[in-house]
Structure formats: structure tokens, C-alpha cells
């Protein structure tokens, strides 16, 4: 049970440990990067050059840095989507599917209400994205609340259904007749595009992501809701006997979590793509799960881990373009980082 609590405690001890804790932290990540370097070497790539390229293409220029921030948006949102239900020990591994359905709903808004002004259309798409992702996650919430199926496996399976659903619309009813063979919807009207800052791709979705983090923190620590959620998280049976409607909270927290992931989908179609395509996400939803897990559901930790993984994800693009490696190679680096975090003693878990 005490998975996340243990994790947070683990982080705290390493902070109290001062410099030695810090060095251990750096050493762990160094180990992951070292093993990945060996993997690259085995496959005939120069790891030093690869790391130098990743560094210079992300943190080496203002534009590169803005691209890292762009990637942080879906990562933070999908991580919050995992962190919210994890407060009552629900394991949401469906961020990817919820992101897709959120994008689908938002796209529906953009395509059907294209004559609305931006100040109505964008909030409408925002709402649709939230509802879409939320409803998708609620399926798993209901299945869990009724005791029918574990939310872990149902959210995993629904990812695939969601991606197929988007494919169905993009290849079928919503396919843009102008774009010959490309499976994509018509380009959104200008009013359906989230404004970006300066000459970068960094769009308003960045504000959604940080708002989500702040709200997540505030609601949990300062409201009656948060108190009840913490009570369920502490001891579900005791909470239930004290009149807290635990089953309702299961569905509600899955809805909110899924809704936040849906916002990631909305902000991707509206802020980045400007239309709906099948290749909407390179696995942001799964990465979000890792981020939330590594951060122990802590808002600051989520921002930090999302920053790290955003650098790695941007690095994937450069490895693909400049080094001829498949883009999903960065999954290895992500997995290695998670392996060292998991293998660290002291974070062991008693129960599920």
C-alpha cells in the first residue's frame, strides 16, 4: 500500500542526507546514462556524440529550450492524470488512451463549431478535451468501483481501443478530402489554434500544465475534498465507515485524472498539430506514468521529472534525425532510469 508514501519518504531522506544524498541521486542517473551509452556503442553509435547532440539541441539554444518546454506540456498533464487517482491507490496506466480521446473530442469541437470566435471556441475545446479523457477513464473507474475489473489492466487495454478510435475517424468520416492520401482531418480554423509565445511553438498549453500542477497541490492539501481523499488513501475501510463515499471517489478521481490527460490531447491538436493525425503521441501517456511514479505524486517532483524526460524525448528526435536510430530508442533510456530508481533499496513495497 505505502508505495507512494515510501517513495516520498525516500526522496526526503535523500534530501536530508545533504550532499551525499545528492551525489547518490546523480550517481543513479549516471548509471542509467552509462548503460545506455554502452547500448549505443554496441550498435555502432558514438555515445559521447549522441549525448553532446542531445545536450546542444535541447539546452544549447533558446529555441531548443523552448522545444523542451513544449514537450513538458503533455508529460506534466499525463503525469497529473496518474497522480490524481494514485492518491487513493488507483493505478491509471491509460493516460495514452485518455490523451487520444481528449484530442478526438476537442477536434470534434474544432471541426463542428469553426465559425465561433476564439474566446468561445478554445474554452469549448478545452471542456470537450477534459470531458473526453474523463469519460474514457471513468469506464475503468466504474469497472473498478463495481469490483469487476482492476483499473490497471482495463486502462491498459483501453489505450489500444482509443488509438484505434482516432484512426477510425481520421481514416474514415473526418478524413480531409483535400489531403489526397494523408490520413488527417482538415486543418483547424485560426480560432481553434492555441496562441504561441513569440516565434516558438511554446503554446498556452504550458499554462494548463502548471495550473493543473498547482490545482492538484492546492485541492489535496487545502480543501475538504483533499482531506477526504487523503483519508481514503490512508485507510479506505476506515474512511468508508466514517461515511466517505469511497466508490464515488474512485469514479470521480479517475474522471478528473482522465480529464487532465484529455487536456494533453486537446493542447497537442490545438497547440502543435493544428489538425488531428493518427501519430498524435509518441507515448506521452506511458511516460507520464513513469514521471508520476518517479516523483511519488509530488507536484514539484513531477515538474522536475517531466523536465528530464522532455530533454530525453527531444533527444529522441535528434537521435532519429542525426544518428539514424529509431525514435523509440529513447524508451531504453527511460526504462534504464526507471530500473535504477526501482532497484534502489529502501523504496520497497509491502503490498500491491
Amino acid at each position: 500500500m505505502g508505495r507512494i508514501r515510501e517513495l516520498v519518504r525516500g526522496l526526503r531522506t535523500s534530501r536530508n542526507g545533504g550532499m551525499s544524498g545528492f551525489f547518490r541521486f546523480v550517481g543513479l542517473f549516471g548509471l542509467a546514462f552509462g548503460v545506455f551509452a554502452v547500448v549505443l556503442l554496441i550498435f555502432g553509435k558514438n555515445p559521447l556524440k549522441a549525448y553532446a547532440d542531445i545536450f546542444s539541441s535541447t539546452l544549447g539554444s533558446a529555441y531548443g529550450f523552448s522545444e523542451v518546454l513544449v514537450k513538458m506540456i503533455p508529460l506534466i498533464l499525463t503525469a497529473v492524470a496518474v497522480a490524481v487517482p494514485s492518491r487513493i491507490w488507483l493505478i491509471n496506466v491509460g493516460g495514452e488512451g485518455q490523451l487520444y480521446v481528449g484530442a478526438l473530442f476537442a477536434t470534434w469541437g474544432a471541426l463542428t463549431c469553426s465559425n465561433l470566435p476564439a474566446w468561445i471556441l478554445l474554452p469549448w475545446m478545452f471542456l470537450l478535451g477534459f470531458i473526453g479523457g474523463g469519460l474514457w477513464a471513468s469506464i475503468s473507474g466504474v469497472l473498478r468501483a463495481k469490483g469487476w475489473a482492476s483499473e490497471t489492466i482495463s486502462t491498459l487495454l483501453l489505450n489500444y481501443v482509443a488509438i484505434l478510435l482516432v484512426n477510425f475517424f481520421v481514416f474514415g468520416p473526418w478524413k480531409d478530402s483535400e489531403s489526397a492520401n494523408y490520413p488527417q482531418t482538415a486543418a483547424f480554423v485560426h480560432a481553434a489554434i492555441l496562441p504561441a509565445f513569440g516565434g516558438t511553438r511554446l503554446h498556452l498549453g504550458f499554462a494548463f500544465a502548471f495550473l493543473a500542477l498547482i490545482l492538484f497541490h492546492f485541492v489535496l492539501s487545502r480543501t475538504r475534498w483533499g482531506l477526504e481523499i487523503r483519508a481514503i488513501g490512508g485507510n479506505a475501510e476506515a474512511a468508508r465507515r466514517n461515511g466517505i463515499p469511497t466508490t464515488r471517489y474512485i469514479v470521480l478521481l479517475m474522471f478528473i485524472g482522465g480529464g487532465v490527460a484529455g487536456l494533453a490531447g486537446m493542447s497537442e491538436v490545438s497547440g502543435i498539430q493544428g489538425q488531428l493525425r493518427p501519430s498524435l503521441s509518441p507515448g506521452y501517456g506511458f511516460a507520464g506514468f513513469l514521471i508520476s511514479w518517479m516523483a511519488g505524486g509530488n507536484p514539484l517532483g513531477i515538474a522536475a521529472a517531466a523536465f528530464l524526460l522532455a530533454i530525453i524525448a527531444s533527444g529522441g528526435d535528434i537521435l532519429q534525425m542525426a544518428h539514424g536510430l529509431p525514435g523509440s530508442v529513447v524508451n531504453i533510456l527511460m526504462a534504464l532510469i526507471l530500473f535504477v530508481v526501482l532497484a534502489r533499496r529502501g523504496w520497497k513495497v509491502g503490498g500491491k
Binding site: 487495454l157 484512426n167 506514468f289 523509440s328 524508451n331 531504453i332 527511460m334 500491491k352
Partner: protein, 305 residues
């Protein structure tokens, strides 16, 4: 007489159900030993890519299957190190293994995209395959298809009628008691994970060598997770898993038959069938079957120190 639709559906179910059954048997062994492995998807991918690339290099699919089995077993030991020795969270470790498999298989497989192989040979069974009507439908499979049902029976026998199986199930139910009885839970769990990894590797190899005869990134498309659902459906029992795998193979085959016949339904909607069927099956039977799960499933045995 068997109409060609039904014949195609049935033989397709057997084909598509075979890798699911290998994977399900592996997951059932792991879960009987008290360990949930969501990384099966990654293990299958590693099996698929190593089986395929080895076959391209050696020209021998049997060597490919063997290499896939060994790779799957060894790859699964990474997961074993995390959840057994380091006592890490099983769900997170499984997902991390899946990520590792996705990335590593993409890296290994990149040079082999577009390569062509002959794949696993059809094995004709004398007499039976010459039977009119049914012969051509049911007795023209590759060797892995013929082996999977006897293997299920073997796994059932080993789990329920051998000493090793008894110890393994005892560890899954109550590792502390098994430890007190002088058994080493960790050793049995490592053995179970290695065998399960081998079965997952074979499952992946069957996908790439017999079904697709090609390699594509993330070609398992969630079959590893479907296998986890199948274990629940089959109540952690190897023989019931046969029926489950046929049913799920049927969902995949149905979609292929519809597409082959040009039925005007979007292939994407038909592709959803296996996942939706998994969910429906879980919802109908999952809750009621929880009592059948090994009692210590997902818990960590912390030893006596």
C-alpha cells in the same frame, strides 16, 4: 460441410490463438509463483525481433525460435532482479520492462525492417492432412501450433502434480510458510520467471516467424496485456487457458476474415474486438474470479532478515 468462412475463422483462431496461449501459459506460471508481470509485452517483442533477425541471419527458423526463447528468458530475469532481489513494485517494474523491450526491439530490428523470410515450415501430418474437407483446414500448421496444446497439458501436470509445482504454488500462496518449510521462495520465483520469459519469447517468435513473417516496431500491439487478462479469465489454470486463447484468437481471426472478404466495416473498428472482448470477459468473470488468484499475488516476500 465446412463453409470457407467458418473454416477460415477456425484455422485463423488456432493460428492467432497460439502466440496468446504461449504467453498466457508463461504469465500463469509467474502469477502462480506470486508475481504479476506487465512486462510480458516487452518480452514478446524481444522474442519477436530476436527470432526474426536470427532467422534472417541463419536461414533456419528453428534456430530463430530457440534464440527467441533464450532471449525472452534472460530478458525476464531483469524483471526478476527488480521484483525478487530488490523487492521493487511489480506493476511499475513490469511497465519499465515493457518500455525497455519496446526500445531495444526497435533498435535491434531496425536493419531488418522489410527483410523477407520463409518462416516456420508447415508440418503436414500424414493421413490427417489429406483428409477431405477438414484436412486442409486443420492439419497444415507450423510446429509451434501443434506443440502448444501438449505444452499446456505439460504445464498443468508440472504445476499440479510435481514437487516443483507444489513448491511454486506454495510460494505464490504463502511464501513465508514455504520458507519455513525449508524452501527458497526466491529461487523458485527466478526459475518461474525464466521459464515464463522463454514462453513469452516463443510467443513473440511465433508472431514474427509464422503469422506476420516480417518485423515491425511494436508488432505485438498489446497481445502481452491481453495475455494478462486471459490468465484471469482462465482462473490461473493452464487447461482453461486453451479455451481462452482460442476465443481471443477467434476475435482476431474474425476481424481478418471480415477484411479479407471486403465487408464494408472499418478495419479499425474490427481491430478493437480483441481488446473489447478482453474487457468484457474481465468485467463478467474478473470480479467473481478474484478468489481463485494466488493469495500472495503481487506481494513481496521479504525473507526473514
Amino acid at each position: 460441410m465446412i463453409g470457407s468462412f467458418w473454416a477460415g475463422l477456425l484455422s485463423g483462431s488456432v493460428h492467432a490463438g497460439t502466440p496468446l496461449l504461449y504467453a498466457t501459459l508463461g504469465e500463469a506460471i509467474e502469477e502462480r509463483a506470486g508475481i504479476v508481470n506487465l512486462g510480458l509485452e516487452g518480452v514478446m517483442l524481444m522474442g519477436a525481433v530476436v527470432g526474426f533477425s536470427t532467422t534472417v541471419q541463419t536461414g533456419n527458423a528453428a534456430v530463430g525460435v530457440l534464440a527467441a526463447a533464450l532471449t525472452g528468458g534472460v530478458f525476464n530475469l531483469i524483471f526478476g532482479f527488480l521484483v525478487i532481489t530488490r523487492q521493487a513494485n511489480q506493476l511499475a517494474s513490469g511497465l519499465a520492462l515493457m518500455f525497455c523491450g519496446v526500445g531495444l526491439s526497435a533498435l535491434v530490428g531496425a536493419p531488418y525492417i522489410g527483410s523477407r523470410i520463409k518462416g516456420l515450415n508447415e508440418v503436414r501430418i500424414p493421413l490427417l492432412s489429406d483428409l477431405p474437407l477438414v484436412g486442409a483446414t486443420f492439419f497444415h500448421y507450423d510446429i509451434l501450433v501443434y506443440l502448444v496444446v501438449p505444452l499446456s497439458i505439460l504445464v498443468w501436470w508440472v504445476l499440479f502434480y510435481t514437487r516443483w509445482g507444489l513448491i511454486l504454488r506454495a510460494v505464490g500462496e504463502n511464501p513465508t510458510a514455504a520458507f519455513a518449510a525449508g524452501k527458497d521462495p526466491h529461487r523458485v520465483q527466478y526459475q518461474a520467471l525464466f521459464i515464463a520469459g522463454m514462453l513469452g519469447g516463443i510467443a513473440g517468435a511465433h508472431l514474427s516467424l509464422a503469422l506476420a513473417k516480417t518485423w515491425a516496431e511494436w508488432m505485438t500491439a498489446g497481445r502481452g496485456f491481453i495475455a494478462v487478462a486471459l490468465v484471469i479469465f482462465s482462473k490461473w489454470h493452464p487447461l482453461r487457458a486453451i479455451a481462452g486463447a482460442l476465443l481471443f484468437g477467434g476475435a482476431i481471426a474474425f476481424q481478418l476474415q471480415m477484411q479479407a472478404r471486403g465487408v464494408p466495416v472499418s478495419p479499425f473498428l474490427l481491430d478493437m474486438l480483441p481488446y473489447l472482448l478482453s474487457l468484457a470477459v474481465l468485467a463478467v468473470w474478473g470480479g467473481a474470479r478474484r478468489h481463485a488468484a494466488p493469495a500472495s499475488l503481487g506481494r513481496v516476500f521479504q525473507g526473514t532478515e
